[in-house]
């Protein structure tokens, strides 16, 4: 598989005013992220997730080690044209409207005016801010500002999308739409690197995850493999009555010579919430911006 992002023996030590080491935030991190996958970076507070992201983006300089991103280093200006970034807290220009914000960031990518205008309209439609397109961002709620942040991260149709706590500040519908977006982007060949504290969200969208703790990598791999418990086998059966289920359980216990547990799987709270909210509503389903929807075969 084609590696989009490679971290080799990455170290980051924060120093004080006297250049003395204070905190070793990242210790010898080795990661490889392949093209087209959705990669989750997890860890408790202070584990080095955000520090790692900021080093990848060039906002911090590694103490040692190397980063290769799309074949270049993070300080390479040209490679930044191919990445999109959503920070944990979107500090936008409070006096700009969403339309002006997106035009501004589009101009930083050197996009022609017509292209910028078209993408701006599509993105505002996608994030549901068309009605507030000409209101100053400073008057937005946290969730609305977050949506503007998402839009600006996608203005350049990036190949690598870096999301720091993407669902932070979003309501459950917004969270679902964000996850759908990530799925759709991945389907279109975009590589996504995200961090999140909401493990259910990570489980929903990520192909592979890495777990950091105190700056070191503790676990890494495809999510279904990491979460698989080889000690337990589960069979799912539909349409059985309670009597039939009990008889089946007794027979299994005789065959397997061990206790068999029986329960009824429940839907997730998110699914229940969305069912309740969306039932009877004429809201159209989430749709990605057309310009992001080009079919890109995975590398």
């Amino acid at each position: 598989m084609n590696a989009i992002l490679e971290l080799h023996n990455l170290h980051k030590t924060f120093k004080d005013f006297w250049r003395r080491p204070v905190v070793e935030a990242v210790k010898g991190l080795n990661l490889t992220i392949n093209a087209g996958e959705v990669y989750g970076l997890l860890g408790p507070n202070g584990s080095g997730k955000s520090t790692t992201l900021k080093m990848i983006l060039g906002l911090l300089h590694p103490t040692s080690g190397s980063i290769r991103m799309l074949g270049a280093t993070p300080t390479d200006v040209a490679v930044k044209a191919r990445i999109g970034y959503l920070p944990e807290v979107s500090h936008l220009h409070a006096f700009l409207t969403p339309r002006e914000t997106l035009h501004y960031y589009a101009s930083l990518f050197g996009l022609p005016t017509a292209v910028a205008a078209q993408r701006t309209n599509e993105l505002l439609e996608m994030v549901g801010l068309t009605h507030a397109a000409d209101r100053a961002v400073g008057r937005f709620s946290k969730g609305m500002a977050r949506r503007v942040g998402v839009a600006q991260a996608l203005i350049n149709a990036p190949e690598l999308l870096i999301l720091d706590e993407p669902t932070s500040g979003l309501d459950p519908i917004g969270c679902r739409e964000m996850k759908d977006l990530v799925h759709l982007l991945a389907k279109n060949g975009v590589t996504v690197l995200m961090t999140s504290h909401l493990l259910a969200d990570v489980e929903d969208v990520c192909d592979r995850v890495a777990i950091l703790d105190r700056g070191s990598l503790r676990a890494e791999g495809p999510i279904h493999e990491l979460l698989r418990n080889p000690e337990v086998i589960r069979f799912s059966l539909e349409g059985l009555s309670s009597e039939e289920a009990s008889r089946l359980r007794e027979q299994l216990e005789v065959l397997a010579k061990r206790t068999v547990h029986q329960d009824y799987p429940a839907m997730s709270l998110e699914a229940f919430f969305l069912n309740v909210v969306n039932s009877g509503s004429a809201e159209k389903p989430f749709a990605i911006a057309p310009y992001l929807n080009s079919e890109k075969p995975p590398a």
């Binding site: 983006l57 040209a78 807290v89 500090h91 006096f95 100053a136």
Partner: protein
């Protein structure tokens, strides 16, 4: 094209920031108040000529001072505030260099500052134009800009060398000074040297023009006298302007004025019978009463000039605007550099301290006497002041407002020098330093 689009994008957002965060509206209001109220508060000597000078020096000067301060403060804030608030993260992860980012912000500041300055100039010009409708103004005020020609004398350095050699011949050189120090002192003295004209005596000053003057043009003689104790005394005498080709035939004007006034009179060159002169000789004879009048003093290098028509007053206003605009560009660049290096309060503090040191430096260098230089402590202060003055020598394009008020043209060379140093080279240096620092800074290290 892409690069231009990127830089323009930054410029546009910066302009929006300055306008929508009420900086520009507040500043515009302040400048408007300044331009309309100051001439009413400061009336000078009450004459139209005085009011004219007030408009050009105090009003324009105060407005320019306010613009300088606000430009510097805004420049310090542009980077510092963005870095402190982490808004800059979303910008630096985009494909533009720190140099482009700096340039975009600088262009926005310069555009805004120069536009506001142009507005101030326009308002002052409107006030002058409206005042010129009054007969009193028409009598006393002439909207001209003129070339200034000083007497053709040896340079202060040449004169200093001559005096030095003379002193050396007579073994009169001070022993506790180096040759360089002595020559420097002598050159300064030569520049400010007074010639004394006692009653009954006369003095002549030669003038040379690079090009012959038009035979139908007007030459203005401007001369300023003083006395030994700077007292007000009568100036009674005859001034004669003649060409070097015909020194005995000239135009004579009787003077009856006071010392410390700038005495001006016009000479029509048609009086010289169609000759297109390149050389003149100005002579003054003191005809005061020897018993009652004291000697008159004149600094030949400063107080005696010939003025010829150069360009229109309006064109000179534009030249002054360009020169002052270039200073604003320099301050914007300097402020941006400080904002890239430090947090906002520290950047502002450093900017204002350096501004004060530079402003005071000129005055300190000027007023320090030789005796004051004896003390070690004063020498340290003088050394700092001289350093600041030297470093900013090119930035100071030499009082364009004083030239405007005196009706003197601001030369093309001065404009070019100002644009090169203040609008070009120095901002470029600041830009490179800022870009380097921004690249090395860990912008996410909060």
């Amino acid at each position: 094209m892409r690069t231009l689009r990127q830089i323009f994008g930054v410029t546009l957002v910066t302009l929006r920031a300055l306008v929508r965060t009420k900086t520009v509206p507040a500043l515009t209001l302040l400048l408007l108040l300044c331009v309309t109220l100051l001439p009413r508060l400061i009336t000078g000597d009450g004459t139209p000529a005085g009011a004219f000078k007030i408009l050009l020096t105090y009003t324009l000067g105060f407005a320019f001072g306010v613009l300088c301060l606000v430009t510097l403060i805004a420049a310090c804030g542009l980077f510092a505030a963005e870095i402190d608030s982490t808004r800059i993260h979303l910008t630096v992860v985009k494909p533009l260099t720190t140099f482009q980012l700096w340039l975009g912000k600088w262009l926005a500041l310069v555009l805004l500052a120069v536009t506001l300055l142009a507005g101030v100039y326009a308002l002052v010009y409107v006030q002058i134009t409206l005042s010129m409708r009054q007969p009193a103004w028409q009598e006393q005020v002439t909207l001209v800009s003129r070339h200034v020609v000083h007497p053709t004398l040896p340079s202060p350095q040449e004169e200093a060398r001559r005096v030095y050699d003379e002193m050396k011949r007579h073994s009169a050189l001070p022993t506790n000074r180096t040759e360089r120090q002595i020559l420097g002192t002598l050159a300064a003295r030569a520049h400010d040297r007074y010639d004394v004209i006692n009653p009954g005596e006369s003095l002549k000053w030669p003038f040379t023009f690079a090009q012959p003057l038009a035979t139908n043009s007007i030459v203005t003689v401007r001369i300023r006298f003083d006395t030994e104790y700077s007292t007000r005394s009568k100036v009674v005498g005859g001034c004669r302007l003649a060409t070097t080709a015909q020194p005995n035939e000239g135009v004579e004007v009787e003077l009856n004025d006071l010392t410390q006034n700038e005495i001006e009179f016009d000479v029509d060159l048609r009086a010289f019978n169609g000759i297109a002169p390149t050389g003149f000789e100005l002579a003054f004879q003191h005809r005061g009463d020897p018993d009652k009048s004291s000697g008159l003093m004149v600094r030949p290098r400063q107080d005696v000039v010939l003025l010829t028509t150069a360009t229109s007053f309006e064109a000179n206003l534009v030249r002054a605007l360009i020169v002052q605009g270039s200073i604003l560009a320099l301050l914007a660049a300097f402020g941006l550099m400080l904002g890239a290096c430090f947090s906002l309060p520290v950047a502002l503090f450093a900017a204002l301290i350096l501004l004060v040191v530079v402003q005071i430096g000129d005055v300190v260098v000027e007023i320090t006497s030789d005796e004051d230089k004896e003390l070690v402590s004063n020498r340290i202060g003088l050394w700092v002041s001289e350093g600041a003055t030297t470093l900013t020598a090119h930035a100071d394009a030499g009082a364009p407002l004083a030239a405007l008020a005196h009706g003197e043209v601001i030369g093309t060379e001065r404009i070019a020098q100002s644009l090169f140093w203040n609008g070009g080279l120095t901002p470029l240096l600041f830009a490179l330093v800022s870009a380097w620092i921004l690249r090395r800074r860990e912008l996410a290290n909060d």
